[in-house]
């Protein structure tokens, strides 16, 4: 009795003794982490990236680039090296509307109508203030989001002026968060939407647009700065262009001049018009005579420096300043040369910036197809071109910069700052690109510019990612020619022999110290002397990742370096514009396959995408890529150009599958359930035809509110179509109000054992039905709202397991993973009676039959057998300590190693827990001897959360959307790649690295022991000999 108890205790202890744990020296070697901020929102000045000079405690200044991004992050990058200085991740239901910055503070408004105000320390990103301006459901959202929200700093105090919902202005104490006063317009935003604020000591000016009968009119309101009482409010007689009323007017002040603030707008009748603002709004409208302007651009210098850019009809652009000089205070500071519209130049991007002393600069950036490099020769070169204008001296410097449009797409935004350089000035500028890249350049002497750094922020929007194994390094025989003469060979061998001493040294060293390839060592950083090759343990693979910004990357899994990247070409839609959304990614050729030429080929992937052209047409496009180099495997697009795809379906895709028989074929279904195959070869067609009768696919059908999961088979009817057509065979009929949220296919890996031997020598056979899928659903319309999870056989629609789960606050966030016969799901349990509250994780295992030793051979049974529903589910619920955003299991080469559960928590950790903890057969009492033999430990409701099991250790991995696992060459080790806002990669050995010598293995001890024993033999040998001799006598 005593021994089993002791053993149970030991087993309980060993359960948490970390089979996997990270040494500090291994951190950063076995794993890597890419901290990203997301792709900047360049649509409006209030969210676009801009330079900011912040003063540190020691008096030095540092330059940051602050931006709001499409990943809903407010982030700051160091201008020097492009590293993330700080970032604040906003919740998904709290989108950033606008941010403003002052010397040491950044203020951001987020949520519907700007419901929440936050201020941050500009240098460290520390949150200083968080204040609810109004309840989110009371906020009014306008299109674009920046309309109707604004923040202004009151100079000389900590106070902020906050404009929310387009109709409410509040004065907030920036230190305490107290609302000093609040003013709301009478119409509550139904007629007038304010969008701009200017503070002057005598009045606060609010400028907005008012809907009038025919068009949009400017509306101005003045408030008292002391208590927010209304001074005056009236329409300014104007007509704004109906297509873009919000961006066609500006509010100008210039503190260095005596002029009152002015409103400038593009009038549909009178062209560029101005209105001088006074507290009583008794100004007059002035029209701009002479040149006709078609556009006014706010470069971020209007409200403080009175500067803007106006574009004339012919495209000529001018920098205009409100000041003391010029006609009625308006003065054209400079006309940009080469700005007349030309087919050789792309439309220009304008940016406003400052130097250290706060002097304003305006930069104009465009793409130039042809320019002269040399006086005598005209090269047909292309490149970026930047003109920087110093306003104070009205000098403009033009420079060429090497922007690579084939790897970064087109420029979408530019921000810059300037610094004096001799009697001239230098410019630093950051280009945002359509593929989500950020590139920092700085100008040097002459016409040169240099690239400082590049960030691939598109990786914050990875849609699909897969591991691809890479081949071993080829051992290349030197010489090799048959007709080599003896003398030549001798010379060659002598030359080669010069490496022998080094080899001998290395051999001796390796023998003595045992420095073999080690699992904790990083795979060699890209070998310069040859192509990419595998390391000893297969830890080095290529992660092919496609983003929603039309770019596909090959990432080295051992160090996170981007090996190659290609921009996806739009095909015919390039003329109208469009977007490519990745759908699925398949490895169509692995290292084990033989290429067409009979030799082992390089691995290849097929990326299935949907192209949404701006004229609403949707096509399905395939990209066939060499995973090692990023080359087009169809050999249609040159290396340095866009990667052009293959339009396989002229219409949207419904589902895609991967058929792996004798060929590897991508099977696509169009809207009419017609089958398309890729590659379109006779072999793959024959292969598909052979397999067609036994194929089952699950397809989500039906519109909103009537979604169903239908099992399909395919048939060929030559009279109707030359293609195979899918037809429904079964349906997973859900209740009418249930909405499918996700379909989680079973993770198929090698199954090492089909059963589980119990302590009493009986066996539970695993239920390994290949057609199992897990489906999570939501029924928001039911009372109370609920969620559900199903495990179903899609071939005939039978439900194997079903659980109804509570919806937390009406929303379903059920995460689930299904591997072999094991289902784990996680949800927030909120009992309406208040009996329970908290995260729950449920582990379910499916075994064949009703009892032990009941075997139905589920893995190779026909789906139409009645036996398929003879299954027993064992389940256990656990209390989880974390919210989870992604969940998966490890996968290993042969499936022998125990599977760990890997999950990403909402507080930015990637964590693993062993399967033994999740075992649904853990007994609720002290385990018996038989159960101890099975290594079962007593059930404890709370899942442990040891910090050593946090794979991401000190890194904060934010907003993980998915975790991908892949086997390494070592059976013990699984590779783990998590993507979301950040990228994180590590490897994990769930059962310890049993197939390699442990890092802890003490070679010194072994050597010392052997030496000691040898010494003992040397000492004792003569003694024994002497003794024997004596005995003989």
């Amino acid at each position: 009795m005593r021994v089993p108890l002791l053993r149970a205790c030991l087993a309980a202890l060993s359960l948490l003794s970390t089979t996997y744990a990270l040494y500090e020296s291994e951190a950063g070697i076995v794993d890597w982490h890419k901290s990203l901020i997301g792709v900047p929102l360049t649509g409006s000045l209030g969210t676009a990236p801009s330079f900011h000079r912040a003063t540190k405690d020691d008096g030095w200044t540092t330059s940051l680039i602050i931006s709001a991004t499409s990943s809903n992050v407010l982030g700051a990058l160091n201008a020097e090296d492009g590293a993330v200085a700080w970032r604040h991740v906003f919740a998904a239901n709290d989108p950033i509307a606008v941010f403003k910055k002052q010397q040491s503070t950044v203020a951001a408004l987020s949520g519907p109508g700007g419901s929440t105000l936050r201020t941050f320390d500009a240098l460290t990103g520390d949150l200083l203030l968080e204040k609810r301006m109004h309840a989110p459901e009371h906020g009014t959202l306008y299109e674009p989001e920046s309309l109707g929200t604004s923040v202004a700093f009151v100079p000389g105090s900590n106070n902020l002026l906050v404009l929310t919902s387009g109709h409410t202005l509040a004065s907030v104490d920036g230190k305490t968060g107290e609302t000093l006063w609040k003013w709301s317009s009478e119409d509550q935003g139904s007629l007038i939407i304010y969008s701009r604020i200017i503070y002057t000591p005598i009045a606060i000016y609010l400028l907005g647009i008012a809907k009038s009968t025919a068009s949009f009119t400017l509306h101005a309101t003045t408030l008292s700065p002391a208590d927010g009482t209304l001074i005056a409010s009236q329409n300014i007689p104007s007509g704004l262009p109906p297509t873009s009323p919000a961006t066609s007017f500006l509010l100008l002040t210039n503190p260095n001049s005596t002029r009152t603030p002015h409103a400038v707008w593009l009038d549909t009748k009178n062209g560029l018009s101005t209105f001088n603002l006074t507290p009583n709004l008794k100004g007059s409208v002035g029209a701009w005579k002479g040149t006709k302007y078609t556009d006014v651009i706010d470069v971020g210098l209007a409200e403080e420096n009175g500067l803007f850019v106006a574009i004339a009809e012919d495209g000529q652009s001018k920098a205009i300043r409100l000041g003391d000089a010029g006609d009625k205070g308006f003065e054209v500071v400079y006309s940009f040369p080469d700005s007349v519209t030309s087919p050789a130049r792309s439309p220009s991007i304008y940016s406003g910036g400052f130097d250290k002393d706060g002097n304003p600069y305006i930069a104009r950036v465009f793409w130039w197809h042809t320019f002269k490099v040399n006086l005598s020769l005209i090269f047909h070169e292309q490149g970026g071109y930047i003109q920087t204008l110093a306003i104070n001296t009205a000098t403009c410097i033009g420079k060429v910069f090497a922007f690579d449009t084939n790897t970064h797409g087109v420029m979408t935004h530019v921000t810059h700052d300037a610094g004096p350089m001799g009697d001239q000035f230098a410019t630093r500028f950051m280009v945002s690109t359509s593929t989500g890249g950020l590139q920092m350049y700085h100008t040097t002497g002459g016409t040169k510019t240099r690239l400082d750094w590049t960030r691939e922020e598109g990786l914050a929007n990875v849609q699909v990612a897969e591991y691809v194994e890479i081949p071993e390094r080829l051992v290349i025989e030197s010489g090799g020619a048959d007709a080599e003469r003896f003398g030549d060979r001798l010379i060659r061998q002598i030359i080669e022999a010069k490496d022998f001493p080094r080899y001998a040294m290395n051999f001796a060293k390796r023998f003595a110290t045992g420095s073999y390839a080690s699992v904790s060592e990083s795979a060699p950083a890209s070998p310069t002397d040859g192509p990419l090759s595998r390391d000893a343990f297969g830890f080095r693979q290529v992660i092919v990742a496609a983003t929603s910004y039309g770019k596909v990357y090959g990432i080295d899994s051992s160090n996170g370096e981007i090996l190659w990247s290609r921009v996806l070409g739009l095909g015919w839609a390039a003329e109208v514009g469009g977007k490519i959304i990745p759908f699925k990614l398949y490895t169509t050729r692995t290292v084990a396959d033989v290429g067409e030429d009979g030799e082992a080929g390089t691995p290849q992937v097929v990326l299935v995408t949907q192209r949404r052209a701006d004229n609403t047409l949707v096509d399905t496009v395939l990209f066939h890529i060499d995973a090692m180099t990023g080359e087009d495997s169809r050999k249609q697009s040159p290396t340095a150009d866009l990667l052009q795809g293959f339009d396989i379906i002229s219409g949207p895709i419904v589902e895609a599958f991967f058929l792996q028989n004798s060929t590897r074929t991508v099977v696509l279904f169009d809207e009419y359930m017609q089958v398309y195959l890729y590659p379109e070869s006779t072999e793959s067609e024959a292969d598909f035809e052979a397999a067609a009768s036994s194929l089952h696919f699950q397809v989500r059908t039906g519109g909103p509110d009537a979604r169903q999961l239908m099992g399909h088979s395919v048939m060929l009817n030559p009279e109707l179509s030359k293609r195979f057509v899918g037809y429904p065979t079964s349906a997973l009929a859900l209740p009418a109000h249930e909405e499918i949220q996700s379909v989680i296919p079973s993770r198929r890996g090698p199954v090492a054992s089909i059963g589980k031997v119990l302590g009493n020598r009986t066996t539970l056979y695993k239920y390994l039905n290949p057609h199992l899928v897990a489906v999570t659903t939501a029924s928001p319309a039911s009372h109370p709202p609920s969620c559900a999870i199903y495990v179903a056989d899609v071939a005939k629609g039978t439900v194997v397991y079903h659980a109804v789960l509570p919806a937390s606050g009406g929303a379903c966030h059920v995460q689930a993973t299904l591997a072999e016969n094991w289902l784990v799901y996680h949800y927030f349990d909120e009992d309406l009676q208040g009996q329970s509250k908290g995260y729950r994780a449920v582990s379910v295992e499916f075994y064949e039959g009703a009892l032990v030793d009941d075997k139905i051979k589920s893995s190779d049974m026909s789906s139409f057998s009645n036996e398929t529903t003879r299954v027993t589910a064992y389940d256990r619920a656990y209390v989880s300590q974390h919210g989870i955003s992604a969940l998966t299991t490890t996968s290993t080469k042969f499936g022998v190693t125990a599977k760990d559960i890997i999950f990403a928590t909402t507080d930015g950790k990637i964590q693993s827990l062993p399967r033994r903890i999740f075992d649904p057969r853990r007994p609720s009492r002290k385990p018996t001897a038989e159960e101890v033999e099975e290594q079962l430990v007593q059930y404890e409701p709370v899942l442990p959360s040891p910090a050593q099991r946090i794979l991401s250790h000190k890194h904060e991995v934010a907003n993980v959307r998915k975790i991908v696992t892949a086997p390494a060459l070592l059976e013990s080790t699984s590779l783990v790649f998590a993507y979301g806002l950040d990228l994180f990669h590590t490897r994990i050995a769930p059962s310890g690295t049993f197939d390699v010598l442990s890092e802890n293995f003490n070679k010194a001890q072994l050597v010392l022991t052997i030496i000691g024993l040898a010494g003992a033999i040397v000492v004792t040998k003569p003694m024994v000999q002497r003794k024997r001799l004596r005995e003989r006598w």
Partner: protein, 231 residues
């Protein structure tokens, strides 16, 4: 405070549902002395639909929380915090705070009532790494196996000398007991456990009863022998 409450009352008239702000702060202690250690932290109710960031001063405010009971937890990357049960009543003015231990029933609330505004105490810092065991000669030598090995080695050399210096009487005694033990062992090995045990018990009993009585005598003899030698 009063002003904001008044405002809340006003707004609640519009929305017809009383909602309270939940205020609180983080108590800086030895585990986490300042905000710069904490990096980003968010205080959430239930699964995070209602939440608040923590400002540099350590304060937080979750606005407009409707009546009901909530699980309050602090999401921090590097530190662990206790979870609390917050009850926002529909009539009273301030929420009540109770400790909640995960894995225990959520209702009824613990009888311990905590002060409001909420005070969150950092309980521990996550230790992500394990220390690598380095090579240590002392640790290797203090290993029991090594100690036994060392002892045998020493005995191997020392034994002949000890044997030489031993009293012939003691030697005989030792030989006798050794023989007895051998007998027991061989009996055990041959499967005759009973007789072996009996022999063992007998062997144990014998010296015990004899020893109790004879020990002083034998020591006397030994002493005397020693004295004799000296003379």
């Amino acid at each position: 405070m009063f002003g904001s409450r008044l405002l809340l009352v006003l707004s609640s008239v519009c929305s017809l549902a009383l909602a309270l702000d939940i205020r609180g702060s983080i108590l800086w202690n030895d585990v986490c002395p300042s905000f710069s250690n904490l990096s980003s932290v968010r205080v959430v109710l239930n699964d995070g639909k209602l939440s608040s960031g923590v400002t540099r001063e350590g304060g937080f405010l979750i606005p407009d929380v409707p009546s009901g009971s909530y699980l309050l937890s602090a999401l921090s990357h590097d530190y662990t915090f206790d979870s609390l049960r917050i009850d926002v009543p529909s009539d009273s003015e301030s929420p009540s705070v109770h400790p909640h231990i995960l894995g225990t029933p959520f209702s009824p609330a613990s009888s311990i009532a905590l002060a409001y505004p909420v005070v969150l105490t950092p309980r521990g810092k996550n230790a992500y790494y394990v220390a690598r065991e380095g090579f240590n000669v002392m640790a290797m030598l203090s290993n029991p196996m090594m100690l036994i090995m060392g002892f045998t080695a020493i005995m191997m050399f020392a034994m002949p000398y000890i044997m030489k210096n031993l009293d012939p009487q003691m030697l005989e005694e030792m030989n006798n007991s050794q023989k007895k033990m051998m007998g027991v062992q061989s009996a055990m090995q041959s499967g005759d456990i009973k007789s072996g045990l009996a022999a063992l018990v007998g062997a144990e009993d014998e010296p015990k009863s004899a020893g109790a009585r004879n020990q002083p005598a034998s020591s006397q003899v030994k002493n005397r022998g020693g004295k004799n030698k000296k003379r």
